[in-house]
């Protein structure tokens, strides 16, 4: 049976290794600084008692003044499940580090977020459009996207 860790208990565990990463928590959610996503992921995937080996999903939400990237993780050995989020500001070139070096499953999901939401993942080896075709302009899942006139 899976246990869902609260944001607070996860924050205590993360602060041991990455002291400046945690930005805040509320119930099951935890916010971390976008630039420390890779360090936190590295720690979560290797730390004893956690070992988050399954990256369930990466989602991106457009809140107009910022993008929120949401990571759902599961540890199959310790039966834990967590959520952590990173707020990325700026609409012109929002960016955060890629976690593909830790979880191969991030590959298609990060490409999809870049394609549809326009958030860059630094360090992704093959960041190109996945659902839409090369040469498409804009990122349609953004809230302010307008369909070009036909």
């Amino acid at each position: 049976m899976l246990t869902y860790l609260t944001g607070e208990s996860l924050a205590q565990r993360i602060e041991v290794a990455c002291p400046d990463a945690v930005k805040g928590w509320k119930r099951s959610d935890l916010w971390i600084a976008p630039e420390s996503v890779l360090d936190v992921s590295k720690y979560l995937s290797t730390a004893p008692g956690m070992k988050f080996d399954l990256l369930n999903s990466i989602s991106a939400v457009d809140y107009i003044d910022h993008f929120e990237i949401v990571y759902h993780l599961t540890s199959t050995s310790e039966n834990l499940s967590i959520v952590f989020k990173a707020k990325v500001y700026g609409r012109d070139n929002p960016a955060l580090p890629s976690v593909i070096s830790i979880w191969q499953g991030a590959d298609f999901q990060e490409r999809e977020i870049w394609d549809l939401m326009g958030v860059t993942f630094q360090g992704h080896p093959n960041l190109k459009r996945i659902m839409l075709w090369d040469g498409y302009e804009g990122h349609p899942l953004r809230r302010d996207y307008l369909e070009p006139p036909r």
């Binding site: 049976m1 899976l2 959610d29 080996d53 399954l54 990256l55 369930n56 999903s57 989602s59 991106a60 939400v61 457009d62 949401v70 759902h72 199959t76 039966n79 499940s81 959520v83 979880w103 191969q104 499953g105 991030a106 590959d107 298609f108 999901q109 549809l116 459009r129 996945i130 659902m131 839409l132 075709w133 349609p140 899942l141």
Partner: protein, 366 residues
């Protein structure tokens, strides 16, 4: 050292073995695959964007069209995510009817997977039609439940659309009695077939660590010998009441991926039998308004679909439509390790592996 000059070939997007529109850009050295890149997007309909302009109830119709051979389970994943947003309590009978529909759909989806795998193997049409014979009975049951066969839209936030009609139960009972014999028949014809065993055993393996790292779930993960099924590890709905096993494979090859599906059909029948015994009269739907407005917040609902973990990440701003509806598609992520599974094998193995992974392009491209 290459044996001959490498040649790059596009397999698809209209190749019959891709079960839809999917392209693989493959570099061959003679007949051996040396490099490969999957190309998606031919069936991209923007379901996530469309969901943002529809009410919560209308989005159910979009989920039918994701993995169109397991619509019931897509409905279930979506309504479970909606119910997590506002903590709706589903009546008992509603939960049982959902479980019955979902497990019937799992059998139907596995039948399609088995039939098309054999089709890809060159056993043209005959085994497929045998599998479709039983799937037809399941679709007839769905028609009784909700009037539709493929795009069912049977489930609603808080329960199901309507109670099963009187004549559903005798038909369901007949199905439960007949189906074990048909599964025995498949097992006798297929698993006892030497040609099939020689073709499938030992090829295109994937290890447990590789599969987990690539976010692979479902029968492909279980074929590596690792028991991971959300119905057991994170029971949703009423799955904690049933007694059933999780079949696992041995080495993660094509045969294990194929054989696990046959065994899972038996386990689904066990669950269905228990549902049939336990279901009691009562309401089927909680009192949820048609224009459902969950409080602001987010929720991730997930189920074990026939392909793997199907999740919906919903964000609500308190309005009548989801602010964001992200679909975690198992078919797409099960292809994450396709390169590792195929490089070093031959063209014919690629066709078999695509069949045994069981992808559905409606769900890959969304």
């Amino acid at each position: 050292m290459s044996l001959s000059e490498p040649i790059t070939v596009n397999v698809g997007p209209q190749h019959p073995s891709t079960h839809g529109v999917f392209r693989l850009r493959v570099t061959f050295d003679g007949e051996l695959i040396v490099d490969l890149e999957p190309v998606f997007g031919y069936l991209h309909r923007g379901s996530e964007k469309l969901a943002e302009e529809r009410t919560y109830t209308q989005v159910i119709t979009l989920t039918d069209r994701l993995d169109y051979v397991s619509s019931m389970i897509n409905n279930q994943a979506y309504v479970l995510a909606c119910e997590k947003l506002s903590e709706v309590q589903v009546p008992e009978r509603g939960s049982y009817l959902r479980t019955i529909a979902a497990e019937l759909q799992r059998i139907a989806s596995h039948l399609v997977a088995t039939g098309f795998l054999l089709n890809d193997l060159g056993a043209l049409a005959t085994p497929l039609m045998y599998c479709f014979r039983e799937r037809e009975k399941i679709l007839d049951l769905f028609e009784m439940l909700c009037g539709a066969r493929i795009t069912v839209s049977y489930m609603r936030v808080g329960g199901v659309f309507q109670d099963a009609p009187e004549d559903f139960w005798p038909a369901f009972k007949t199905f439960l009695e007949e189906m074990p014999y048909y599964i025995d028949e498949y097992e006798q014809f297929l698993v006892g077939n030497e040609i099939l065993l020689m073709r499938l055993k030992g090829g295109n393996t994937v290890s447990k660590e590789q599969a987990l790292n690539a976010s692979i779930t479902g029968p492909v993960l279980r074929s590596t010998g690792f028991s991971w099924d959300l119905r057991k590890v994170d029971p949703y709905e009423i799955y904690d009441r049933f007694d059933f096993d999780i079949p696992v494979g041995e080495q993660g090859d094509n045969f294990d991926r194929f054989y696990i599906r046959l065994q899972e059909m038996r386990e689904s029948l066990r669950i269905l039998n228990q549902c049939f015994k336990q279901i009691a009269p009562g309401p089927v739907r909680a009192n949820v308004p048609y224009l459902y407005r969950p409080p602001a917040g987010d929720a991730y609902g997930r189920v074990e679909s026939p392909k793997g973990e199907l999740g919906f990440y919903l964000v609500s701003d308190g309005g009548i439509a989801p602010y964001r509806c992200k679909i975690r598609s198992p078919s797409l992520l099960n292809l994450s390790a396709i390169k590792e599974m195929l490089v070093g094998w031959k063209l014919a193995d690629m066709i078999v592996t695509l069949g045994s992974i069981d992808i559905n392009m409606g769900e890959v491209d969304r």
